[in-house]
Amino acid sequence: MISFITSHYFQIGTVILFGVGFMTLLLNNNLIRKIIGLNIMDTSIFLFFITIGYTGGREAPIINGAFKGIDAYVTPIPTGLMLTGIVVAVSTTAFALALTILFYERFGTIDLSEVMDSRGD
């Protein structure tokens, strides 16, 4: 148990950050705070992917001068894949915030508990 924590500490921290974002999504009634919770969950997944591809003792994949063999560089694939994910997260947050503005103009409040209790239909 202790050896599991000391050898996987980075990935455990990432999963806990995912849990923090999930609880932010569930416990708040304000719409803006729910959007912040979604954004925290996205960020934790990006961090998880980047920590998988790391190896201690190697350097960044920028080949200056002579080529030192394939055992001297960190792999470039996970960071390149997460660029697409970051862009999708930004676009989703922008769209959700525009929907919040329309919600406010329709109902007059951004607190979900008032809207869900008063409208019976």
């Binding site: 960044a60 920028i62 660029l83 862009v87």
Partner: protein
């Protein structure tokens, strides 16, 4: 919202931010950076300029319609520049020969430099239009 302190300090800071964003975009194949991060810093520069200088800012000379058309043209130009190698791969032909140059110079590595600039333009225009187009009741 803009006090004289902010106006003075942003006036000193903006030239360095402009040069920094162009450095990130143009040196994407030699050092860390590339189109997306350079475009984000460029968009932040345009928004800061607009908040401090008002109607005399750099982005205020281009209206919303012209910036949208510029962004669409950049995206279509990316598709045309790389579309010839996509189609050549499908039809089992060789693509157009593009000179690679010596690694380490700025003008090397074929099409990577124009593609970085085009992606940076799309991202910067997107950030600037979402943040500032709804101030004076446009659209």
């Amino acid at each position: 919202m803009t006090t004289p302190i902010i106006r003075r300090i942003v006036g000193w800071l903006l030239p360095f931010l402009w040069i920094f964003s162009f450095y990130i975009m143009l040196f994407g194949h030699l050092s860390p950076g590339g189109g997306f991060s350079g475009g984000s810093v460029l968009g932040a520069c345009l928004i800061l300029d607009r908040h401090v200088n008002g109607a005399n800012a750099f982005g205020a000379r281009f209206t919303g319609e012209r910036l949208l058309k510029l962004s669409l043209a950049a995206l279509l130009l990316y598709g045309i520049l790389k579309g010839q190698s996509f189609l050549a791969g499908v039809l089992h032909m060789n693509g157009l020969p593009i000179p690679l140059g010596t690694p380490g110079n700025i003008l090397s590595s074929g099409l990577i430099l124009p593609l970085n600039v085009l992606v940076g333009i799309v991202v910067a225009v997107a950030f600037y239009l979402i943040a500032t187009l709804f101030e004076e009741g446009h659209l």
